[in-house]
Amino acid sequence: MITLLYFARLRETFGLSSEQANLPADVADIRSLTEWLRQRGGAWQEELAQDKPVRVAVNQDMATPDTSVRDGDEVAFFPPVTGG
C-alpha cells in the first residue's frame, strides 16, 4: 500500500485529494507509477501526459522518474509551485 496525494489543479481535475493504492509488482519507481496511473485514462491520461510539467515528491522530498517507490511511501503529484 502507498498513499497518493494530489494538489492544486491535479486535485481538482482528478476530483481526489488522496487515495491508498496497492502497487502492481512491476511498479517500482516514479516512472512506472506514473505510467500505471496514466492507464486509468481520461483526466489521468491527460494530466500525466509526458509533455505536462507535473512534479512528484516521495515522502515529502522532490523526486525524479528514477526515484524508487516502496510500500508505505507517501507519493504526491502536483503542478510546478507558485507560492511566494
Binding site: 496525494l5 489543479r9 515528491a57 515529502q60 504526491a76 502536483f78 509551485v81 507558485t82 507560492g83 511566494g84
Partner: protein, 153 residues
C-alpha cells in the same frame, strides 16, 4: 531559524523586533514582503487562494533556510507564508534575515525567496472577473533560482 505557515496576517514590525531581540551583534536586517496585486497579466484579481502541502511545506522551507545558513554568515532567519483566501494588498509572505554585515543578509534573503518560489509546495488560484484559474508557474522564476547554482557544480 523559524518557519511558519498560517492563515492569519503577520505584523512586519513586530516580527523584525522579535528577530532582533537579545542579539547585540546584529548589524543588518534584510526583509521581503510579498503582496497580492490587484492586477496580474492585465486581469483584475478579486481574490486569491493559497493551497499548500502540509508537512512537506515546512520541511522544504526549513531546508531552504538551512542551505542559506550554510552559504552565508547569517545570525537568524524567519519565513512566514500565509495560506487560504487573500485579497489584493494582503500580505502573502515574509522573509527576514539578520547578520553582522549587510551583504550576507541581502543575499540570504533573496536566495530564500528565489528558492521558495520554485521549491516550496504552494499553489495560487486566482479569482478574476472572468472566473477562477490556477496561476501558471513562471519560467523566469526557475531561471532566477538557477543563478544561485554554482556553474561548475
Amino acid at each position: 531559524m523559524t518557519v511558519q505557515i498560517q492563515t492569519e496576517d503577520f505584523d512586519l514590525g513586530a516580527e523584525i523586533l522579535n528577530l532582533r531581540r537579545g542579539n547585540t551583534g546584529i548589524g543588518a536586517v534584510a526583509s521581503f514582503v510579498g503582496l497580492v496585486r490587484d492586477l496580474n497579466h492585465s486581469t483584475t484579481v478579486t481574490e486569491m487562494t493559497l493551497e499548500h502541502y502540509p508537512g512537506m511545506t515546512e520541511k522544504a522551507l526549513a531546508e531552504i533556510v538551512e542551505e542559506a545558513k550554510r552559504r552565508w554568515n547569517i545570525i537568524d532567519a524567519l519565513v512566514i507564508h500565509r495560506i487560504g483566501p487573500l485579497k489584493p494588498t494582503d500580505q502573502i509572505v515574509l522573509v527576514a534575515v539578520s547578520s553582522a554585515h549587510r551583504g550576507d543578509a541581502f543575499a540570504a534573503c533573496e536566495f530564500i525567496m528565489d528558492y521558495l518560489k520554485t521549491r516550496a509546495p504552494f499553489w495560487k488560484k486566482e479569482q478574476t472577473e472572468a472566473g477562477a484559474h490556477w496561476v501558471d508557474a513562471r519560467e523566469s522564476d526557475e531561471t532566477t533560482a538557477q543563478r544561485w547554482t554554482a556553474p561548475s557544480a
